[in-house]
Every structure is written in structure tokens, then in C-alpha cells.
Subunit: 499 residues, 2 copies
Amino acid sequence: MSAFFRTSRLVRPATLSARAHATQHIRRTLATAAEKPFFSDEPEGPTVSTAIPGPEGKKAIAQLDKVFDTRSLNLLARYPDSVGNYIRDPDGNTFLDVYAQIASIPVGYNNPALAEAARSPEMVTALINRPALGNFPSDDWASILETGILTVAPKGLNQVFTAMAGSDANETAYKAAFMWKRRQERGGPDVDFTNEETTSVMNNQSPGAPQLSILSFKKAFHGRLFGSLSTTRSKPIHKLDIPAFNWPQASFPALKYPLEEHAEENAKEEARCLEETERLIKEWPQPPAAVVVEPIQSEGGDNHASPAFFRGLRELTKKHNILFIVDEVQTGVGATGKFWAHEHWDLPSPPDMVTFSKKAQTAGYYYGNPELRPNKPYRQFNTWMGDPARAILFRAIIKEIERLDLVNHTAQVGDYLYAGLERLAGQYPDQIQNLRGKGQGTFIAFDSPQRDAFLKNAKSYGVNIGGSGETAVRLRPMLIFQQHHADILLDVVEKLIKS
Amino acid sequence: MSAFFRTSRLVRPATLSARAHATQHIRRTLATAAEKPFFSDEPEGPTVSTAIPGPEGKKAIAQLDKVFDTRSLNLLARYPDSVGNYIRDPDGNTFLDVYAQIASIPVGYNNPALAEAARSPEMVTALINRPALGNFPSDDWASILETGILTVAPKGLNQVFTAMAGSDANETAYKAAFMWKRRQERGGPDVDFTNEETTSVMNNQSPGAPQLSILSFKKAFHGRLFGSLSTTRSKPIHKLDIPAFNWPQASFPALKYPLEEHAEENAKEEARCLEETERLIKEWPQPPAAVVVEPIQSEGGDNHASPAFFRGLRELTKKHNILFIVDEVQTGVGATGKFWAHEHWDLPSPPDMVTFSKKAQTAGYYYGNPELRPNKPYRQFNTWMGDPARAILFRAIIKEIERLDLVNHTAQVGDYLYAGLERLAGQYPDQIQNLRGKGQGTFIAFDSPQRDAFLKNAKSYGVNIGGSGETAVRLRPMLIFQQHHADILLDVVEKLIKS
């Protein structure tokens, strides 16, 4: 296996067949015995034969930079050549992709089932006749929802407000929460707005624009528009120079890993955070209408908390008559080994709203309580309110997940990957710290003392990995990530540690 | 013509061929002599043969309402049966559509050129391999931009930040403005953030989250997320119960129509509004980083101002070293008889940013000044940053606009339509008030004393029209709207007035 990677990295730009031959040999020793690959045309492994970016990549990046800011560019990709878990660049380099477009590719590049959906007449009509969904939905919109998005609705939630991406999914959920809260305060759906409200709101003043808030957690990430950014507390660079609402943030538990070895301390830490949350709910001058939380803080550094903590939040929000919004933009759609990460919690009652995006390739929030429909039309509204083309694609994704049983698969391959990393962490405790995500599918992370170099060097070994927070290596493989991919990844991690 | 409409409204659900026969006869008297239709398969005219919604529509709406709020529903549509300027419903009714999905359908339902783009391999790969554009753009992203979005960039602006819809296009433009302003205040791109900034911003406090603002105008509409909604001042129902920033609003000129008859009064009104704007720029406690304005206030009631007013805004923003953002979400892409409405103004220097969405079927903001790229990566960023699939579609739209010379066409047909409405306004001055949009393509509106009834009844005559503000009938035909469609529309308007 080492030979393979060393060889392939030294290979000069060569014909594909020559590379295929080289990898064929290795493959036999690599693959987990009986595992059938989901993608029969995936390469046998990564190959890197130029610097990254290579000459073609450099040219294309310079071209793009003239019209589009490229300073966040990580890898310029050639998508028609990418397949399954592998992303290719214009220089012919092939990377095992365990970052997957910031955790947003669900079932592989150029998935044939998705291609079929993309070529369907239904997709073509959705693309070229884009409706204003709130005013002029198509007569098959109910069916697209019922056979797609709603088949995977979290338990207890049977309705959806569709959106475009994670940020507006969260912000429309916040808006629903504010309208709900004010309706409670006002005394029900039939109590009309006062003159004072309709007048003051046009000046952006209370009571019409109320002094209410959304409570989020330190290190949280909920998006980057003005309302969502006010609940995002990941890093200064995400927030600097942008005006923000004076909304409260509670401490998110800073747990010690492995969790099972620090049960008592961690329970104390979680109790402290719950107390702080309750205090803020009771005392913050702009009272929260809702608490929003990620099941696993992702951008903020892959920070976990226990099911008991989340049950505590559910209880607190019930007790204080405010809403509980679970942001599953990154955790949703299977990666944690459940379709929704909050299924791990055994909640006594469902969240009030669950937001989604990324792997769904569309976005929105689920809800169940009919009171979360505002009391009048045009209160929760915009021109497009989502995109039926992307909703049709999500339906195809869901079918592919079901056909291949990818949620259970991800739970299993996640356990396999975690066990491999645990072994490595035992061997190299300084290099793999705070390994986390046990029993959470492939939603796994660890801290690395030279994280940024680790990520950069991983590419020269043919693996595309992302980071989160200040020090975390964040693994976000697709749902079609298999044991033989895990073997490649583990091998590269070990090489990186040794190098 | 009257016979046609009266007959068709009385027709029981009938075979399409019978209806086609009936309309064929009328058509000869209807069509403007030598005008060749853009869509050869468009129906000859509208036909309405059931109540609206009809039995099929009612069933489908009830089904949809179980899972999706339908209280803003205007018309449930059957898109595969719709063509060109005509939208059909599940009961077989056919409407001339001069609302066009809230002004967002550019070149007709089921446009063959768009269908071809939608079926292209490039589209399929864009749909199923959706990139995180800031991190992993495709190697053809530069080309998609350069052969599409950027070919129609407003003069002086050669770069783009892509987004999902009008709201986030505006909000990302606001963010760029805030970052630019703080960079000026800080003393340039190389002056680093202070500790106080990086600390305070994590608490949503200044100086990191600065006390700056965006100045907008009374009756403006810029979107409904938290930042954009803070600049939206259209109606209370759009804003109630949602927390807002304490940002300033200036009066937008309340002009008298026809403009040429009230030149002096209108000039005074505009001078007053400019003075108020300057006072707010100088005195508002959270100083504006930018002024944002629509070329024609759309949701707010189709309110116009003169080129001189907008030149005045450009001057004021230069004078006070703040940015000038033109929101062309509704006015852009040809409807005013120029590709961008601000081309009507003869500005001494281009706007700093121009936002777009709707007819572009994608969204974003154009800019030219390289200082509007933030000084570090990851400051203006999100996972998807737009959608290449929709950018490919916009390119096909642009090509179709060029092939058919639709901007000039719209200028001409707009003049024709305006002249027809002017005649009717002369005959029925109480029913068509404040006709406006002369020389602005088909971007035409008038006030109606019973506006809501007017819009509702228009449907039973087979025309789908929208409103804006409290009393305006807002015409937003597609760019393929022709004289023979204008004749049908004018006929229906007259019938509605008489009825």
C-alpha cells in the first residue's frame, strides 16, 4: 500500500490505462474482502502526479480570479471526470474526497440515479418554468413534497417550509418563531395587530419589530446572513464588520474525550451549560423566542454533547414556553448513522422545527405544530421559496439512500473508521487528539497539533479533507463511503502522522 | 373580440380542438397584422371554462394545503401545458400571464432554447455535482461566468459575487459595503483587526459588529431576511413581529403623473427627498455604509423617480464616501426597455454594486472596484454561493434575449401598451389613475379604485395580473410579450372597467 502511494505520486502525467494498470495490482491487497463497491467505475485509489494546483489548475484559477474572488479556493475540480468518492482536477489528479463540498454531496459524484433524475422531463420543466411557489405552485408540488422531502420528515413533524440554502432555512425558521411568540403574547391568532405595532414596525422599532432574540451557543454556526450570523459564533473572521443583533449565547459543553472516560466531569459541564442557558432565557433583556442548536457543532470544531444535554434543552424550552429549533444543515441526511442526528437523543417530544440543507441539495424547515403557520398569508413568503428542481433531486437522493440502505451502511462504516482511528490514536496520541464521533456514523473528527499542514499535505497523498474550528480535522465522507475507502484514508492518516 | 371572450367564458369543459376552433376564428381579427409570434405553439388567446380554481384545482390545493401553507396561493398551475405567455391550470383554463411568477419568467414558459440548455450534459453535471463554489469551483466556472452572467454586466462593473435569490444577493452586497466601510475607517486593507474588535464581535457588540447601517427608502422592498427586511419598508405585513436593525429610511419621491405635466412640483419633491437623504447620511446615529435603492419601487407600488434624482443619489454617496447599491432584482434583465433600468439615468459614474435575481433565474451582485473584495478570504463566503445550474440557465436566457433582440422589442411593445392604456385612461380617468412607466418598456402600472377586485376579475377574463402597493395594478409581462398580447390585455382591461 505504501508502495502504491509512493509510486503514484511519482508518476508523471501518464495515460489513464497505465495508471489503471498500476492501481489494479494494488487494489487486490487494498479492498476489504467481500465488499462490493457502490460505484463500479470508481478508480482503485487516488493518484497525484503534479503539484497542487498543477499547471492546468493554475491557469484556470488565474482566469477565474479575474472575475471571481478565488482566495478561499481549495481545489479547482473537473466534475465530469469525478466519480463516486473521487474528485478529479484539471491536471488529472484524483483525490479521495472526505470533505464532499463541505459535507454536501450525499451519494457520490456523477451518481447514475441522480443523473437519471436530472435528465427527466419533470426536471426539465422544473428548471425552465420556475414557479413562485407561494403564489403559483405546480399541481404536482404536493406530490413532489409527499414522495420526497416529507418521506424523511423527522418524527412528529409533517409540514415543510422550503428555502434555498442553510442560512435562509434558519432565518425563516427564526421568523416563524418570532411570529409564534408574539402571537402567544398577543393572546392568539385572532387578536389583530395594534396601530402602534403597524406604525412602529415601519420604523424598525418595537413593539412592531419586537425586542426578542434567538438564543444560540458559543462556537455555533447557523449561517452568514444578518439574522443567522447573529446566532453564529464560530470565529471572528465570519462575523467581523457586520452589524449584529444583541442576542444571547450560552456556553456549549466543552467535553472531554473519550466521553466514556470522563462521564462525571462531562455531566457536570453539561449541567453548567444548561443552567447558563436557563439563566439567559429568564434574564436576557431581549427574551429569546427560541433556542437553536446543532446536534454536533460543525464549523465550530466538531463539538459534541450528550443526548441528556439535548433532552435538557427540550425541557427548558418547554418550561419557558419558547421553541426548540434543531439545525441539521450539516448533521442531517444520514451522516451520523441516523437520518437525522437528533434521532440519537430519544427526545420526549419532537423539536419544534428542524432545518436542513447541504446533502438535501435543497433547504427548508420541517415543523408539526399548526400554530407555526403564521396567522395571515404573506407573512412567511418570498418569490421563489425554494426550488422544485432541487426538491426533485432530493427525492432522487432519498430513493438512492433507501435503495442502498445508506444510513445503516454509514453507521457501520463509521464504526469501522472510528475503530481504525482509535487504533492510530493509541499509537500516536500526540497526533490524534480528542478523537470524537463514536457511534455517530462517519461524522468523526480529531484534533491535530499541525492541523493546517495536515490538511494541505493530505492532498499530496490524494485525500481531500476539511477542517473545523481551530484544530480539528473534520471527516465528512459521502454516504457511499465504504470500508476500502476507510482503509485508504487510515493509511494516509498514518503516513501524514509519520511524515 | 368581445364575442370571443364572452363565448369562451361560457364554454363548458370541452375538447381542446373545439376551443381551438372557436379561437381560430377570432384570432384573425385580433392579431396585429405582420407580427410574427415568438412562440408558434402559443394558444390564440386565453380560455376560461371553469370557476377559478376549478374542481381539479380545488382538489390539488386541498392536497397541498395539508403539508404546505397555501394561503398566499394565487393560481395552481400545470407547467408542462403552459407555453410562452400563457399559463394553464389543471382544469384546462389558459391565462395570458402578465405577472410571470412575480416578474421572474423572462422568455416564456417551456421556451425551447431553455429546454435545450436544461437537457445539456453541462446542466446534468451541474445539477448532480453541486460545488461549494468558493472552495471547489469547477474548471469551467470562469467560462460559465464570462460567457453568461458577465456578458451583461452593467457598464463599469466587471466582477460578480453569485448568490441564490434577491434577498441574499442584497444582504451579501450589504456585507461587502460594511466591510469596505470599516476598511476605510481602519485605514486600508493591511491594517489588521484589533483585539477589541475580534473580542467584541463574538458578543455581537461594537466595534467588531459595528454600529453602521444601510439607508433605504420608504416603500422600498429589498427582501425578507433579517438584514434585507430591515431595509424593506413596503407594508407592515411584510415586517411585523420580526426584529429589525435601527437603520434609516429616507422619503422616496411621491411624484405626480403624468410626469411631464408636473415637472416643477416633482422636481421640488425630489429635491426634498435628496435633502432628507443627505441629512440622514450625516446625522443618523448608526452612519450608513451605503444607500440602496430600486430604480422603480416595485412591491411598494410602482413608484418612479427621475434620472436626475438617481444622479443626485450617486453624487451624495460620492460626496459622503459611502456606497451606492442599485437593487435591480425586479427591474433588471430587460423589462424596462434597457437591460438594466439604471441605464436610463446617464450616471456620471457607475453604481458601486448592482444586485440581480428574478428574470436572471440566479442571483448575485456585480461590482467593479477591487476594494469591494474583502481583504481576507472566508469573509464573504457560504457553502454554495449560488448555483451553477441556474447560472447555465441564465446564459441560455441571455442568448435568447440577444437572438430575438428582446430588450429593444420590449421597449417598443411597452410603448404600444402604454399608448393603449393612455387612451383608456383618457376614456376612464377614474378607473385608470396615475398611469406610469412611460418609456420604461412594459414596466407599467396604474392605480385602480377597486384594485383587488380588478385583479380577481381579470382571471375570469383569462388574464393573470399582479398588484403592488395598496392600489396599483402592476404589469410585468415577459420579454416575449407582443403587440397581439397587448391587444388582448387592453381589451380585458377595458372590459374590467366596464363591468
